[in-house]
């Protein structure tokens, strides 16, 4: 990796050069070194490594705004990037979605547990660990094991021509283990993620054991019967289906017509025991950051307070549009392929932990389905919240004190209705991050009343 001073030098050049050509400019010089091991059929398929150094820019010229990010190596590259971005921005009409940037210099919190100095050594030894994860998963009952371990290391320097400046470094890991039997129908998933991989080997091995155990428990699964059931959603499923409500508390999504929370501010949308935050300072959060993309300090914002929608996430622009304060949630978000935009966005979604033990959650007096994993969630209409998603891996019917594996069903319901119908919250809060949960979500098992389950008609 390049030393931190060099990144700062490149960032300083960008601001010193760019501020003469713009009304405001923000530059981030970001260096990443990531690696991944992918495995299937009990064997490592491929080892990957990525090395990148990029300059990310946001420029303001009058009422016009422009963005870019591109690889750089030298002072010349930085200046050329700024020249190109300024030329392109001047050709654009005024932006209708810009009302200002953070202009105060403030102190930032020091984050804990965000950097693992041993990550490079860990990455070198990761193949051995993955082979141990495969063995553990097999010992727990799997016949076949697949998955991926991603390790990320990032350092960046940030500076705004309006004053704010800072730097940060972080490491993360995420492991997805899927245990399968010889048959396609019987599978289980285990996940582990965090920021200190060298102290997380135990969690990774446990993810394999969990996947293997679920896969074995799923053996003999029978076709489920469509109908209305209470559902117990594992943290993985709760994060995708119900954690998404918190993510929808975004003024940009509301303005684009893709959030069900329009006109819901101040309303009771969930039970009183549900409180959820946008928390960019969460210890060990995969997306924790001391400051947002504009340099506003990171903070913890109560989005849902005892079931009531209390706040949206904001950056400077949307906070002015909505006559409120920024929540320190400015992000450079992607729009389609290659285009970026400065928007509010959640860093980590964090729910308060619940009180129910596993035994209490599973102590039910009517047919209830336990869903351990899901994928392919799609909405009919993002404003109304009508959607469906497919339980994947082990799923169980709890009835009259028994738990039997079932398969081939679909949750076809409404996300707002399900959120309002949460009736119990587990005490097993955990951080979830994988393909179907791209925003790190800290959440517990949830039990939800009266959900519609459907299945193929032929």
């Amino acid at each position: 990796m390049i030393d931190a001073d060099h990144l700062k030098t490149l960032g300083d050049i960008a601001i010193d050069y760019g501020s003469k050509k713009t009304d405001a400019i923000i530059a981030r010089v970001v260096q990443t070194k990531n690696s991944q091991l992918r495995f299937s059929q009990n064997n490592i398929d491929i080892s990957k490594i990525w090395e990148e150094l990029k300059l990310e820019l946001f420029v303001v010229i009058g009422e016009k705004t422009g963005t870019t990010d591109r690889p750089i190596t030298s002072e010349d590259d930085v200046k050329k990037t700024i020249d190109d971005t300024v030329s392109f921005t001047k050709m654009l009409p005024d932006s209708m979605f810009f009302a200002g940037l953070e202009d105060k210099i403030q102190s930032y919190n020091k984050l804990k547990k965000q950097y693992d100095a041993k990550i490079d050594t860990f990455a070198e030894q990761a193949p051995e660990l993955i082979n141990s994860v495969i063995d553990k998963t097999m010992s727990a009952g799997a016949k076949r094991v697949a998955g991926a371990l991603m390790l990320k290391k990032r350092y960046f320097f940030f500076r705004s021509s309006l004053g704010p400046e800072g730097s940060s470094r972080g490491t993360t890991f995420d492991l997805n283990v899927r245990a399968l039997q010889d048959e396609l129908d019987y599978s289980g998933q285990g996940l582990a993620c965090g920021t200190i991989p060298s102290k997380s080997e135990k969690n990774m091995l446990e993810a394999g054991v969990k996947a293997g155990r679920l896969s074995k428990q799923a053996i003999g699964a029978v076709q489920g019967t469509p109908g209305t059931y209470d559902l117990i959603l594992s943290p993985t499923v709760a994060a995708n289906v119900l954690g998404s409500i918190t993510e929808s508390a975004n003024p940009f999504y509301i303005m684009m017509g893709v959030s069900p929370l329009k006109d819901k501010m101040g309303e009771q949308i969930g039970p009183e025991f549900i409180t959820a935050y946008e928390d960019s300072l969460f210890d060990g959060g995969l997306n924790s950051t001391p400051f947002d993309w504009e340099g506003s300090p990171g903070r913890t914002t109560r989005i849902i307070d005892q079931g009531i929608l209390k706040s949206l996430v904001h950056n400077t622009t949307t906070s002015k549009m909505f006559d409120t304060e920024t929540t320190g949630s400015s992000q450079m978000a992607s729009l389609g392929i290659g285009m970026k935009m400065l928007l509010p966005g959640i860093s980590n979604i964090v729910f308060d932990n619940g009180n129910y033990s596993q035994e209490e959650l599973f102590d039910v007096d009517k047919p209830t389905i336990y869903v351990t994993c899901n994928w392919y969630s799609r909405t009919q209409n993002a404003q109304t919240g009508d959607f469906s998603t497919i339980p994947r891996d082990a799923m169980f019917l709890l009835n009259k004190g028994e738990m039997k594996p079932i398969k081939n069903m679909r949750i076809s319901d409404n996300v707002l209705r399900m959120f309002a119908n949460i009736d119990a919250l587990g005490n097993d809060r955990t951080q979830v991050y994988w393909w179907e949960v791209p925003t790190p979500t800290v959440i517990s098992t949830m039990r939800v009343r009266d959900c519609k389950m459907t299945a193929a008609t032929q």
């Binding site: 690696s35 991944q36 495995f39 299937s40 064997n43 490592i44 491929i46 080892s47 990957k48 490594i49 090395e51 150094l53 705004t65 963005t67 690889p71 750089i72 392109f88 654009l92 209708m96 979605f97 990455a123 070198e124 193949p127 076949r144 697949a146 998955g147 991926a148 283990v177 899927r178 399968l180 396609l184 998933q189 684009m256 017509g257 392929i337 290659g338 285009m339 970026k340 935009m341 994928w375 392919y376 969630s377 799609r378 009919q380 209409n381 993002a382 404003q383 009508d386 959607f387 469906s388 497919i390 994947r392 081939n408 679909r410 076809s412 393909w435 459907t454 193929a456 008609t457 032929q458």
Partner: protein, 498 residues
């Protein structure tokens, strides 16, 4: 619309000189990667230099909210070491960085101690140069012309309760080189365009996410009647929102279902294309995109649909998002027959899985960027046209639904249990498509259950489903086309309506 090329375009600026220089540097460095990979003992080395640029504009309710110009370049290298595969990618075109990344990837591959060595089969040494046909190259189109198009698109969407339009012009230059002798220069060109439309009526709102992607140069806007198509889609969404009603009669008994080319496209992509992918069949996507119900079937023997079902996968069709002449492993593209008269016929394969299946690659390897490994992907997937007209399909349907377009859909990761919810749909009664619009009919079936119910396919082949197909980890979203004619399914029991 006025001719697009003008002196104000980016190609006339200093940017072009820098691009040319970067392309040369990148190609030179890609060739050096081959040398270096061989020097450190790799059995197979492949380097792919990708240089691309995207110019994007985004609008909400007709007002511009963002614009950006993002060039990108870098090299992705695959090395096969002791039968294990390593992949390294880097964006700074420097020898020292290339060496460090390739060395690390080789070490990691060696450490992985693969129990099943990868065999890529017979060496491939294709040398070629090809590009997507472009009469008016996208990089020559000035920003005013793009703005003018966007304004015209936004005009068509006026009257909706909200609408978003995103335009991204994307030109990708690639240079693929391997230690087996392959050297392929290529250029891809896409107009990536998306709209999110919301219509409001008394009974509620309806939404439609429209992928409007075109492949080729700026001339594709005119050739494809793009503006007229957007106008038509807006009209249809408004009509659906205002008129669609729940018709209980359709739930009381099995009915006949006729789907239009858009719905045929999503079905053929999800229920046929994905399960035909060789890596899924053999489990490599087990923890990500999933496996495939084809795993337990016999190629050339197992029936998954009626005799009327013939499915083609063809990257050689020009002016489509799935068009290429050589894949990202340097294999010459060809047409593939996935299903022949209801029997599974041929899976999609890259070199690794071509060897495992014993047939060799059929050129299905694609990578979305320099920083992604090439994996098995679809290109253009479609139901082969039949002999019928739409009128002939409809004329002997007593009670049924014509589902012209869809909204919510999903399918399990073995690609067996799928759900398609209709957007624009009409009641068919006594051999005629009526004016009665059906609200959200749901076709929730298994792949075999659905394909076995096909009894006729129309001759009206259209690629009405351009899409971005997601697969793998890290995610690779790749442009594809899918379609068919109208398809008739007999005796379908709906999963819901209204």
């Amino acid at each position: 619309m006025k001719p697009a090329v003008s002196p104000q375009s980016l190609s006339s600026s200093k940017y072009l000189d820098r691009t040319v220089s970067k392309v040369k540097d990148g190609k030179d460095l890609a060739e050096y990667c081959i040398e270096f990979g061989e020097k450190i003992g790799a059995e197979y080395v492949e380097a792919r230099f990708v240089n691309s640029s995207v110019r994007g504009l985004a609008f909400r309710n007709g007002a511009m909210i963002s614009g950006g110009f993002t060039p990108s370049s870098g090299i992705g290298v695959r090395v096969l070491v002791d039968g294990s595969m390593g992949f390294a990618s880097f964006d700074r075109l420097e020898k020292s960085i290339a060496e460090e990344a390739i060395t690390t990837a080789s070490k990691m591959a060696k450490n992985s101690k693969s129990k099943k060595p990868i065999d890529l089969g017979e060496p491939i040494a294709n040398v070629a140069k090809w590009k997507m046909e472009t009469k008016e190259p996208l990089n020559d189109v000035d920003i005013d012309t793009i703005m003018e198009l966007c304004t015209e698109v936004n005009e068509q969407m006026k009257g909706l309760s909200s609408f978003v339009f995103i335009f991204n012009g994307n030109v990708i230059d690639k240079y693929l080189v391997t230690n087996e002798g392959t050297k392929i220069d290529s250029q891809l060109s896409y107009l990536l365009m998306y709209a999110i439309m919301t219509a409001q009526a008394k009974g509620g709102s309806e939404q439609k996410f429209l992928d409007l992607t075109l492949a080729g140069g700026w001339e594709r806007i005119r050739e494809s009647h793009f503006i007229e198509n957007v106008k038509d889609e807006v009209k249809r969404l408004k009509k659906t929102t205002e008129n669609a009603v729940k018709i209980e009669e359709l739930m009381a008994q099995p009915i006949d279902m006729i789907v239009g080319p858009e719905v045929a496209g999503i079905i053929v992509h999800e229920n046929v294309g994905h399960p035909s992918e060789g890596d899924r069949i053999m489990g490599r996507e087990g923890a990500q995109a999933g496996e495939s119900f084809w795993r337990d079937l016999k190629i050339g023997e197992s029936r998954v649909g009626s005799d009327a079902v013939n499915v083609i996968e063809d990257p050689t069709i020009v002016k489509t998002s799935g068009h290429y002449e050589y894949d990202d492993e340097g294999v010459k593209a060809r047409k593939r027959e996935l299903i022949k008269e209801g029997i599974i016929h041929e899976p999609l394969l890259n070199r690794e899985f071509g060897t495992k299946f014993g047939t060799g690659s059929n050129a299905a390897a694609r990578a979305t960027d320099f920083n992604r490994e090439p994996i098995i992907r679809m290109a253009n997937t479609y139901f082969e046209p039949g002999d019928y007209s739409l009128e002939e399909l409809v004329e002997d349907v007593k009670l049924g639904v014509y589902m012209r377009s869809f909204t919510e859909w999903n399918i399990d990761d073995r690609r067996y249990q799928s759900k398609y919810t209709g957007s624009e749909a009409y009641l068919i009664k006594d051999g005629e498509i009526t004016d009665t619009m059906v609200k959200k009919p749901v076709m929730e079936t298994t792949s075999v259950g659905m394909l076995s119910a096909v009894d006729a396919v129309s001759k009206n082949l259209r690629f009405d489903f351009p899409g971005t197909c997601g697969k793998s980890d890290p995610m690779q979203g790749i442009p594809v086309y899918a379609g068919g004619g109208e398809i008739r399914f007999r005796e379908i029991r709906l999963g819901g309506v209204g």
